[in-house]
Subunit: 242 residues, 2 copies
Amino acid sequence: MAYELYYWPGIQGRGEFVRLALEEAGVDYIDIARDPNGEDEAVAALMAALEADDIAHPPFAPPFLKDGDIIIGQTAAILLYLGDRHALAPSDPVQRLWVHQIQLTIADLVSEAHDSHHPLGGDLYFEEQKPEALRRAKHFREERIPKFLNWFERILARNPGGDAHLAGNTVSYADLSLFQAVDGLLYAFPRSMKALLTKVPRVAALHRTIAQRPRIRAYLDSGRTLAFNEQGIFRHYPELDR
Amino acid sequence: MAYELYYWPGIQGRGEFVRLALEEAGVDYIDIARDPNGEDEAVAALMAALEADDIAHPPFAPPFLKDGDIIIGQTAAILLYLGDRHALAPSDPVQRLWVHQIQLTIADLVSEAHDSHHPLGGDLYFEEQKPEALRRAKHFREERIPKFLNWFERILARNPGGDAHLAGNTVSYADLSLFQAVDGLLYAFPRSMKALLTKVPRVAALHRTIAQRPRIRAYLDSGRTLAFNEQGIFRHYPELDR
């Protein structure tokens, strides 16, 4: 039975981290966000699944993945599950937990990327919190992004399996997620990120090489991907990038 | 060999979620934050471990746990590790992942609790972002806390193992963490939380009963715990609670 991925239509968001793992694994999945009947149908299917009162393990929020009777929420938990099943994580328990630890740190970076344009919370539009976003984005660009990037660079440099991967000597879901995080940050903060990436050559190389993996390349060229936009987690507001 | 827990001295913070699991497991551990030579020594030991250039798996931030040669960062990853080793999580893989998924959602709540008093980021004092904190805390109190609490209540109600635990019929690290999160929110937002808890009786009961578990009670009464304060994640600023 094919997996079913539930996520909001119209944005890459956190769902994209799961999609990249599914694509790299080469498995069949139904992307509920891409309902052929349109976005309203996609949202209706999502809400019905989220609010069903017969689900033993109801997710708190999208994305969530259905695998037959099993429903899993939280991006990092979904990837932990897929990593085991599709060789997208090491089988050694210590290495496996290390990849998960990296993923949780990527998740922290992604949350901070969101808060850079919505520091006061998701109930207000960006335009209602722009002065606050300017202050928070400055801190994010100048302090937080470099701290995260330097940590990834250090991990890559120290990996006994080689600096092409965050852990081991084959691709893991954390590599795919770091590609996506860097891609999103390049979209949101092109000026800052282009300068920062020159200082973390291994991170920049990983971003390039993941995009050229055959299944990822095919997915990115498939027409099934959405462009980044100003409804998602990574948003390009030029005033936040200077 | 005893575990070593590395965390900032002076606050409960994210370290406390790990401490509760170690205490419930009844295992020996060295709490680096409680260095007998004082807080400066504790911070020096923490920084030395964080910045050592011979660590294969360097943590991004505290807390992290040393188990011999193994170093694990990210609170949820530490708990995943301890849960397996000390029967603080179900052994069935689907249930085990469910407990982890709950933990990741608790982690999201904890991050939002922090951001309620520091919406513009950790580089500014609370006093420098008070108007912004007032707006964000209102949204947190009125929308986000209820959404999280209702989700925990629903999970407890649906647990086939009984509504005394989030999953299964014995205590898990997620139960301990929910206790800690509720305890912190009661400290930070006493007025709002007392009203909210009347609507989620199972969550309120779990908060009471976890505190009465023999090892947790002994820990809370041991004199080794720190009180919540205005340096930690959960802070009581009365103006944010009305």
